[in-house]
């Protein structure tokens, strides 16, 4: 009536639990440490891979966004720093527009409105400081946007010659130099992210290999006994591989969850802030595939490094 039986088999009663390992690898404090370490590695690797992927996406967007786009800058102040009359400026702009429309290599040419210029500058200045209801109050140059059919050096030379005739102080910007620098910077950052990923992978391999060899040393007698019973190296190795698989899977899930929460939190924090300076990033299927693949890669590497480390040590035993 009032009797209660233990629902779970209890080691303290001297009754064994379900047989899982021939070598008691599932016991011991090192297990928690290794799980936490792998969780941290998965977290860092996911961040690196995400960063590399996002930078790659930004670089692509910058490249495609500026492909075939040139800009002409027409200063609104003269050599003495005096503001030019708006009427003169408008006349010069009209001349430039008419001249460029004659070029076959120019598909479309238009002057950027004050609102468009204001939007471009708003990330760096308070909007109120740039313009008011009467237009732009800062001496920002007039910007003329060109959509190009051809973007060769010859075309650029011809346009510059034409500008020389109409407005010698106007400047043609092909966006090449700063885009090159930006792409070089993102390329370097991507490389750093890839290197960090490789370093983390190497650290993971060494950590798991070291942990497995120390577990082998801890259970040397049991391993030796299995050998004496005729266990092949692969039989013993499989036990360590399974142990590495379970531990790294647990660590990978923890790392994945933490990283997903971190990225979600970062997304909430940056919501609405980044769009004006950075292109928007919408993760696609490839990104999610890479994101999900990272934990599997870590688990695979852990199992392989466990196998390598254990077989190395077993080869030295009789």
């Amino acid at each position: 009536m009032g009797l209660k039986f233990p629902r779970k088999k209890d080691r303290s009663l001297g009754v064994s639990e379900k047989h899982t390992y021939d070598i008691p690898l599932d016991k011991g404090s090192g297990r928690i440490f290794l799980t936490a370490l792998i969780g941290l590695m998965v977290f860092l690797m996911l961040l690196s891979v995400s960063a590399a992927y996002i930078l790659n996406d930004f670089a692509k967007q910058w490249q495609t966004g500026l492909e075939g786009k040139w800009t002409i800058e027409l200063p609104v102040i003269d050599e003495n720093g005096e503001m030019l009359l708006e009427k003169d400026i408008n006349q010069t702009v009209e001349k430039i527009l008419s001249a460029l429309k004659e070029f076959h290599s120019v598909e479309h040419v238009s002057r950027l409105s004050d609102k468009e210029i204001s939007d471009l500058l708003s990330p760096w200045f308070e909007t109120d400081n740039i313009s008011n209801e009467n237009g732009i109050i800062l001496p920002v140059p007039v910007l003329i946007s060109l959509d190009m059919r051809q973007t060769g050096a010859r075309t650029a030379h011809d346009i510059r010659m034409e500008l020389e005739n109409i407005a010698p102080n106007a400047r043609l910007d092909r966006h090449e130099s700063w885009l090159e620098e930006l792409l070089r910077l993102t390329g370097s950052l991507r490389l750093v992210a890839v290197l960090v990923t490789l370093v983390i992978s190497a650290a993971g391999i060494l950590a798991v290999a070291g942990a497995m060899q120390s577990r082998m040393a801890e259970h040397k007698d049991s391993v030796e006994l299995l050998h004496l019973m005729g266990a092949e190296d692969t039989y013993i190795c499989r036990q360590f591989q399974r142990h590495a698989f379970i531990i790294s899977s647990q660590g990978a899930v923890i790392g994945l969850i933490i990283c997903a929460l971190f990225i979600y939190g970062l997304g909430l924090f940056l919501e609405g802030r980044e769009e004006t300076i950075l292109p928007s990033f919408a993760p696609n299927l490839t990104f999610w595939a890479a994101f999900i693949a990272v934990p599997f890669v870590i688990v695979g590497l852990s199992v392989l490094s466990a196998k390598w480390a254990v077989l190395q040590r077993l080869q030295k035993m009789l």
Binding site: S16, D22, S222, L225, M229, E232, L318
Partner: protein, 233 residues
């Protein structure tokens, strides 16, 4: 089946603990291994169960030269050997059942067959009610019976036992010797290292006698003559 030729063994740079060991064990033979403490019985047993390699001489087991074997062949040879260790060497986290089942699992037997064989054997050695107990909760005698059950569960071609009846009462010890004899009748070669003169007298088999690292072989008849001579003089 087992052939030792001029086998010598030393640990590190120490003196030889076994010198010029020369003997042959035929398939299906039954031998006691005796000798005073420190004579090298355990070292000889370790050589026989391939726990160590000799430092000199030739050892052949089941027709294969040990020095020419690769790791895979060595494992396969070990699967033909059952060993009862003096200190039992049971795995403390495994139940009596799982300890006995271990050699069968290593050999890749089906779980259904393992259950049947192990349960049967544990009942036979009187541990049918203790199958799920961990070794540390069992007495020394019970642990020894588990160790014996583990050694014989695969019906090995060679059974090596180091003081197998040391912790057992006479009745259980006698019963286990009967088990060894039955195994021997089915073709298993048996070597039992023991100090127990009574047992050697009762079960009259050839003796390998080790003395100061040197081995001599005594058939039951020679042993009896020696005993009479010792009693007379």
């Amino acid at each position: 089946m087992i052939k030792f030729e001029n086998v010598g063994l030393r640990y590190g740079v120490g003196p030889e603990v076994l010198s010029d060991i020369h003997f042959t064990l035929e398939s299906g033979s039954f031998h006691f291994l005796s000798g005073p403490s420190g004579a090298g019985k355990t070292s000889l047993m370790r050589l026989l169960y391939l726990g160590i390699r000799p430092t000199r001489g030739q050892m052949a087991m089941f027709g294969q030269n040990i020095s020419e074997m690769n790791r895979y062949e060595m494992a396969k040879i070990r699967q033909k050997i059952g060993v009862v260790f003096q200190d039992f060497r049971l795995l403390p986290h495994l139940s009596a059942f799982d300890n006995v089942a271990l050699p069968l699992r290593i050999q890749g037997k089906k779980e259904k067959d393992i259950c049947k064989n192990v349960e049967e054997l544990l009942k036979w050695v009187g541990l049918g009610d203790h199958m799920r107990r961990l070794p540390h909760t069992l007495s020394g005698g019970q642990q020894q019976r588990i160790a014996i059950a583990r050694a014989v569960v695969t019906k090995p071609r060679l059974l090596l036992a180091d003081e197998p009846t040391g912790n057992l009462d006479d009745e259980i010890g006698y019963k286990l010797m009967i088990l060894f004899e039955q195994l021997n009748k089915t073709g298993t070669t048996i070597v039992i290292a023991t100090h127990n003169e009574q047992m050697m007298d009762k079960f009259r088999h050839a003796k390998l006698v080790l003395n100061h690292g040197e081995l001599s072989v005594e058939t039951p008849r020679i042993g009896k003559i020696k005993k009479i001579l010792n009693e007379v003089f």
